[in-house]
Amino acid sequence: MMAHLKGRPVSLVRAPDGVHGELFFQKHAATGNLPGIHQLDRSLDPGHPPMVEVGDRKGLLSAAQWNVVEFHTLNASSNSFAHPDRMMFDLDPGGGVPWTTMQEAAELVHAFLKQLGLTAFLKTSGGKGLHVVVPVRKVHDWETVQGFSQSIVRHMASTIPERFVAKSGPKNRVGRIFIDYLRNRRGATTVCAWSARARPGLGISVPVEWSELGSLTAGDQWTVRTVHARLGQGNEPWKGYARAARQLTTAMEMLDYQSETPLPARPGRRIRQKV
């Protein structure tokens, strides 16, 4: 889990009264004295208390002591906050969407991203759905990544309107799937791989191979109770992640997407990627 958590600002979902009780979504931990939990530079998110990151195993334990159930990470790392390093698509079934349709939808998103020259990785959400993660080179700003993710979703919805919708809201998506691109907004977070979910059953978000998609049975297939059987595979399904980050430029041209903000000067700026 640390591989996914380290070096990223987190928001934490605390459930002091159990998952049926009141949940607290905490983005800025005011209590800064938990071992292993670091406060980040205030200038990253001006006007708010400093964001936090979980630095090591001790931090995980501190968080657990503090009734944290869910760990959500930002799409950017703490040391490169202005330039996200991944694009996130959250597939959440609307009413009347059978699981097989979810699997097909994920497969289609995967296929389309591949057509755009992007490599995508899959994980269960631990809740009802699936997350598709696209590693991105840290050269685009938040607006570009969000805007482009939106145009990907819109393009899919206009090409296959019987399967996808580009608008959220239960009314719009009866029997169809809304691919949530809003996880790509500045400051938006998504549940971290290997985090539990604060809902009955305590599902766990687990990285999986695309070839496993057909055999998945639910977004909360693995739970706190059953995840031990999966720990052996660990992050193996995502082994190419670090080398898969691409610049979005070519894909944006293919979709006719124009970002408002030009790329920073390209030469000489090789940025190393870490996961």
């Binding site: 009413g95 009347g96 969407v97 059978p98 699981w99 349709t101 097909e104 497969e107 289609l108 296929a111 389309f112 057509q115 755009l116 607006e143 570009t144 969000q146 805007g147 939106q150 145009s151 819109r154 393009h155 899919m156 206009s158 090409t159 296959i160 019987e162 399967r163 029997g175 041209e253 293919m254 979709l255 006719d256 997407y257 124009q258 970002s259 408002e260």
Partner: protein
């Protein structure tokens, strides 16, 4: 408030009262959905051909009217539609009658009328004068492609419209064995009448509709709530209606569709080297496509 059915006018003589028509009744009972008890899947109907027992597509279904000799006259949807009364959106008052003259058994479905435009005053005027005269209006009205006879009733601040059954819809009572009207038919004695009158008088009270509730619905609702509380609920996965889905329904076809959609775009993306103004992050993809076409035309 529910949606208006239509906006129109009450009209009689030379008077027009602009109004909106709203339904005043609602379904409040319990809905029981059918489930397969083995798998908790929803249970539904299929349209079948009764001879072959096989399912039949909607497009093959036509409407027929059976004749006495067993033959059918088949009518197309267009022919049926053409026979619908034109929605006049007026409540045409044909007569005012004493309210006691309308038998309860004729009343069908209640609607509210709300004054619209500058109709408030004339609405109130009609309401108050009807109330004073103790009359209700008999009117013809078209609601949802069906012509109804209706009665216009002043009711508190509202004018209500209640559709009433046509006389032909009420079965005559003469087939039933009923004691003749009047006191003499079965020889009612004065003392018996007095006793009955006394009893009725004792039981007479003011009517308040709110005093009475549907005990069955309440009992079922209570039972349901109890079961929810102890977590005794079943998870039913709704079934997607695949009949409306496109023919291209497998992943391979759809993947191809996506690839084609990209291929279509490529030339325009290539032609577009210089940025034509801004395409904001929020702009819809189809819109952008249109914009690209426009630019191309300008250049040509």
């Amino acid at each position: 408030m529910p949606r208006t059915i239509w906006k129109g006018a009450i009209s009689f003589g030379l008077v027009h009262v602009p109004v909106a028509l709203y339904p005043a009744s609602q379904e409040a009972g319990i809905n029981f959905d059918w489930l397969d008890k083995r798998s908790m899947d929803p249970v539904g109907y299929k349209r079948i051909n009764k001879r072959t027992g096989k399912e039949i597509e909607k497009e093959y279904v036509v409407k027929g009217v059976k004749q006495d000799d067993g033959d059918y006259v088949v009518l197309s949807d267009e022919q049926i539609k053409a026979a619908f009364p034109r929605s006049t959106q007026t409540i045409e008052i044909e007569a005012f009658v004493q309210s006691a003259e309308i038998s309860f058994s004729l009343l069908e479905r209640p609607y509210y009328l709300e004054p619209i435009g500058k109709g408030e005053k004339v609405y109130a005027l009609l309401r108050e004068s009807m109330l004073q005269a103790g009359v209700v209006g008999i009117a013809r009205v078209v609601i949802h492609t069906k012509e109804h006879l209706a009665v216009l009733i002043p009711s508190g601040p509202a004018l209500m419209l209640n559709t009433i059954r046509w006389a032909s819809e009420i079965r005559p009572a003469d087939e039933l064995n009923l004691p003749a009207a009047g006191r003499t038919g079965v020889n009612l004695k004065a003392s018996e009448l007095k006793m009955a009158a006394q009893l009725i008088d004792d039981m007479t009270s003011r009517w308040d509709a709110g005093d009475y509730t549907d005990t069955f619905t309440a009992a079922i609702q209570k039972l349901v709530n109890q079961k929810v509380k102890i977590g005794d609920t079943e998870n039913v996965t709704p079934i997607e209606d695949y009949s409306s889905a496109n023919v291209a329904s497998n992943v391979v076809d759809l993947t191809e569709l996506l690839a084609k959609s990209l291929a279509k775009r490529k030339p325009s993306a290539a032609a577009k080297i210089s940025a034509d103004g801004k395409a904001p992050a929020g702009a819809a993809a189809p819109k952008k496509k249109a914009a690209a076409k426009r630019t191309a035309r300008k250049r040509a």
